[in-house]
Symmetry: none
Subunit: 224 residues, 2 copies
């Protein structure tokens, strides 16, 4: 991939122009990296990569996880289905288990937090371009350790998002409804509502409704 002579060609997608500009400055400072295209949302990124006339020949796509129109996750899913997809590196504000696993599921090779130093971003780009799955800044993190451990044991990823019913319950919880109200709304027993809530909390590794509420906002189940 990308011989030692020509720099790797990068598409950069983030909805904040300032962030884009900053990341671009960081990457272009590297002799072997070159940002050849920018996108302000996921749809734009996909369109740029699909356009046969543009002939971008992108080696690496860096996508912000959360963007308008098409999120980075959705865009990654589309991009990884192309004939000769570029390597995908997800950029995220959130040190969040769900996002991380979702990113791997949609075909990303790397997941980098915006809180890391610029050096780490450059490292992640290099690792991704070498074909190594750069998982996280700081592989000592429990999240990654557990993930690698599961990989080693041959287990497949069960991060399995939520079931449709669980999504419904989470949405109502995050909207501030009590278990009793939700039970009435869905015409099931209070116990079943609580059961769903427990399962979701356990699945996502969360403790209470406030975390659930932030999750619901993040994934777009509700508006804040």
């Amino acid at each position: 991939m990308t011989g030692s002579g020509t720099p790797a060609r990068i598409l950069l997608a983030d909805d904040h122009a300032l962030v884009r500009r900053g990341v671009r400055l960081i990457l272009d400072a590297q002799p072997d990296l070159e940002v050849v295209a920018e996108a302000g949302d996921g749809a734009e990124a996909v369109a740029l990569l699909r356009d046969p006339t543009s002939d971008l020949a992108v080696d690496l796509a860096i996508l912000d996880v959360a963007m308008p129109r098409l999120t980075g996750l959705q865009a990654a899913r589309e991009i990884s289905r192309m004939r000769t997809p570029p390597t995908i590196l997800m950029l995220s504000m959130h040190d969040n288990e769900q996002y991380f696993f979702e990113s791997l599921k949609v075909g990303a090779s790397g997941y980098v937090l915006k809180s890391v130093a610029d050096r780490d971003l450059v490292d992640a780009c290099h690792a991704a371009l070498r074909g190594e799955p750069f998982l996280y800044p700081g592989s000592e993190r429990r999240l990654v350790r557990d993930y690698l451990e599961r990989l080693r044991r041959g287990e497949r990823l069960p991060p399995a998002a939520l079931t449709p019913r669980e999504d419904e319950v989470v949405k109502l919880i995050a909207e501030g409804h009590s278990s009793r109200e939700i039970a009435r709304e869905l015409t099931i027993s209070v116990r079943t509502v609580e059961r769903h809530r427990e399962n979701v909390l356990q699945k996502l590794g969360m403790r209470d409704r406030t975390e659930l509420t932030r999750y619901a906002v993040r994934v777009g189940l509700i508006d804040p």
Copy 2:
């Protein structure tokens, strides 16, 4: 302010190192602007400005609205109460009315969205340093027009919502901390934490922590 000879001295606070790095590269490229300090959260920014030994002599503080520990808004409130406070410019991801007014209330001279171009950020810095209240990218915005209109008519800003202490408590609640944890964090009794929570719920007409969490996300006390 800042003679034409020496560049203006800037403190930059944002919890995402990558964003900090990018903004710094943008600003340092200007001959008359110089980032002399960085902070990863509001508390750090305040501490740096307060420290008499550091002698930073900061002319302009650029604060991200949403940061851990102390938000940019809380930090701005503290900073503007110092003896010789620097000019304050708020940096925000959110095109949000509440946020915008809150920023003005806590003493900020400018409010810039992260979605603007780097040129606009530089312009905002220059305007703020000249003492002009640079209100928003694009002063034709209805938000700003209405605000200026109300100022002209001598109206005061809409009611002050929450007290600083209440803001702190809400932030911690929305981050998922229990009353006991918050009490330890703020070194007050559990009863007082609960008292603040009750008052806030009553003030905002809300019922529980999930509504409070959405509120905190809306006004930018926390990120989802």
